[in-house]
């Protein structure tokens, strides 16, 4: 049985899995899975600083995530180099600075997540964030689909693309932030990435895709909990969940792909 103190953590982690599966599905279609994942690494310096100074880690993570994103945009403008090159530079820098800043004993937790009890206010804030993410995806689902299919056609249909893209990026970052606590800075993006690839392989229409991604994500978190709580107790939740997700992806390869090209 799960210890009553852990109910909040487990509930939030499972709800996070739902949000990550949904956001990941659209990130996959936007072809921004990897670039998006890097966003999570930008949180590390802030996490480290927060551990060092005794601040709230999430707040630290959020600040450096925000600063890192702006830095990438600015560097891209100044250097005239492509976005992925600048993401590479800032990502490597952020990881190094984060590793240097984070106290040694907290480093593994910061990188790979920590399973811990949540206070009621933290739980509530997390649930509000997750509900916002899920509501966004459901409310803007049509507009996202249209913009992904053809931005020109979407604009002609009346979709405000700039606003939609900005909001999606914000929701993506918010998802990463919620995941930071469980999954750590290195693996927070993994639940956004891996389940959506499973969904993509096993489905051929949008509803099936979203549903399969969410199911894969929730399964990975649930089994990840079992793995790190009862089987390999020294393993953090980030690696255990990611391993399960990767195994699920491996299993999905056994099925014939659906909806891919002729």
């Amino acid at each position: 049985m799960i210890h009553p103190d852990l109910i909040y953590s487990v509930t939030l982690a499972l709800m996070f899995a739902v949000a990550a599966g949904l956001v990941g599905s659209f990130a996959l279609m936007k072809r921004m899975l990897l670039a998006g994942d890097v966003i999570s690494h930008l949180a590390l310096p802030g996490l480290g600083l927060a551990f060092l100074m005794g601040w709230n880690p999430l707040l630290g993570g959020a600040c450096s995530l925000f600063a890192g994103t702006i830095l990438i945009a600015e560097l891209q403008k100044k250097s005239g180099l492509s976005a992925d090159a600048m993401i590479g530079v800032v990502f490597a820098g952020a990881l190094a600075v984060g590793a240097a800043l984070t106290p040694q004993e907290d480093l593994v937790d910061a990188l790979f997540g920590k399973f811990q009890q949540l206070s009621f206010p933290t739980f509530t804030a997390g649930m509000v964030a997750v509900a916002t993410i899920i509501a966004f995806i459901f409310y803007f689902r049509e507009q996202l689909v249209l913009s992904l299919f053809s931005s020109e056609l979407a604009a002609a249909t009346g979709v405000k693309l700039d606003r939609l893209n900005l909001w999606f990026l914000l929701v993506f970052s918010l998802t990463v932030l919620v995941g930071l606590r469980f999954m750590g800075a290195l693996l927070a993006g993994s639940l956004i990435m891996v389940p959506s690839t499973i969904g993509r392989r096993l489905s051929r229409n949008l509803s099936g895709f979203l549903l399969t991604s969410v199911l894969a994500s929730v399964t990975a978190v649930a089994m990840g909990f079992v793995l790190s709580l009862y089987v390999l107790r020294r393993m953090s939740l980030g690696p255990s969940t990611t391993i399960i997700a990767a195994v699920l992806f491996g299993l999905s390869l056994l099925c014939k792909p659906r909806g891919a090209r002729r």
């Binding site: 049509e142 689909v145 053809s150 051929r204 909806g259």
Partner: protein, 244 residues
């Protein structure tokens, strides 16, 4: 008193990235007309459609008469055909965004003769012609009274191309739509349009096909070799009916 024009364009000028694409263009389109927009590559045909749709900034005025609803079929969809979307997902997305009833999807599919099993086919597995039909069905959602087509048959083989044009003619007859169509295929323009707008480096011209699709005008606009339009010219000569 004659009807007011459906579309009035006055002194339209469009520049993109500091390059002047359209300059001081003025024309009008009447309700129920089929206007073909022709011109050599780079003359601004697609840009004109985008300006008419309000997708890009412009100077001058574009006035659609009140109650106009636009449907748009773009030139090329750079869509990722690997996306896990079936045709219905796409139509449903637009229908929901515009708060249309579900029955609108089936009606639009019916209008372009899109069979139900095709609605549930992935956008990556259907043929070019079927994909184009799906896009026309998409454009028809929301009950437009004007359709804007940008080279609707650019990537299709001849048979598929023929079917798409038949469909357009049928739609226009049945629903009295006004159609603005960018096309490279001058014989199609001659067959289906009753007004032609020729964009070129020189002065743009507008008029009925018989006036615009003359060898002299075409040579001036396209600066193309004589034999290229000879075929069309012969076609025009052999067609006794005049089109206005």
């Amino acid at each position: 008193m004659p009807d007011k024009p459906l579309l009035s364009v006055h002194h339209l000028t469009v520049s993109l990235d500091d390059r002047l694409i359209l300059q001081d263009l003025s024309f009008e389109v009447n309700r129920g007309a089929t206007l073909a927009i022709i011109g050599p590559n780079g003359s601004g045909k697609t840009v004109l459609l985008k300006a008419l749709l309000g997708l890009i900034p412009y100077e001058g005025s574009i006035f659609w008469s009140p109650g106009t609803r636009l449907g748009y079929v773009p030139q090329k969809i750079a869509a990722d055909r690997q996306m896990p979307l079936v045709v219905r997902d796409l139509l449903e997305a637009k229908a929901r965004f515009l708060a249309l009833p579900r029955s609108a999807i089936d009606r639009a599919a019916e209008e372009v003769a899109l069979p139900p099993d095709l609605l549930n086919a992935g956008i990556g597995v259907i043929s070019g012609g079927q994909f184009q039909k799906a896009l026309i069905a998409y454009a028809l959602l929301g009950d437009p009274n004007v359709l804007l087509f940008d080279e609707p048959t650019a990537s299709l083989d001849e048979m598929e191309e023929e079917r798409v044009y038949e469909l357009l003619e049928e739609l226009q007859k049945k629903q009295g739509l006004t159609i603005l169509i960018v096309s490279h295929d001058l014989s199609v323009v001659y067959r289906s349009a009753n007004m032609v707008l020729c964009l070129s480096k020189g002065k743009p011209c507008i008029g009925p096909p018989r006036e615009i699709l003359t060898p002299e005008r075409l040579e001036e606009a396209y600066a193309m070799p004589h034999k290229f339009y000879q075929h069309l010219h012969l076609q025009l000569e052999s067609d006794p009916e005049s089109k206005d």
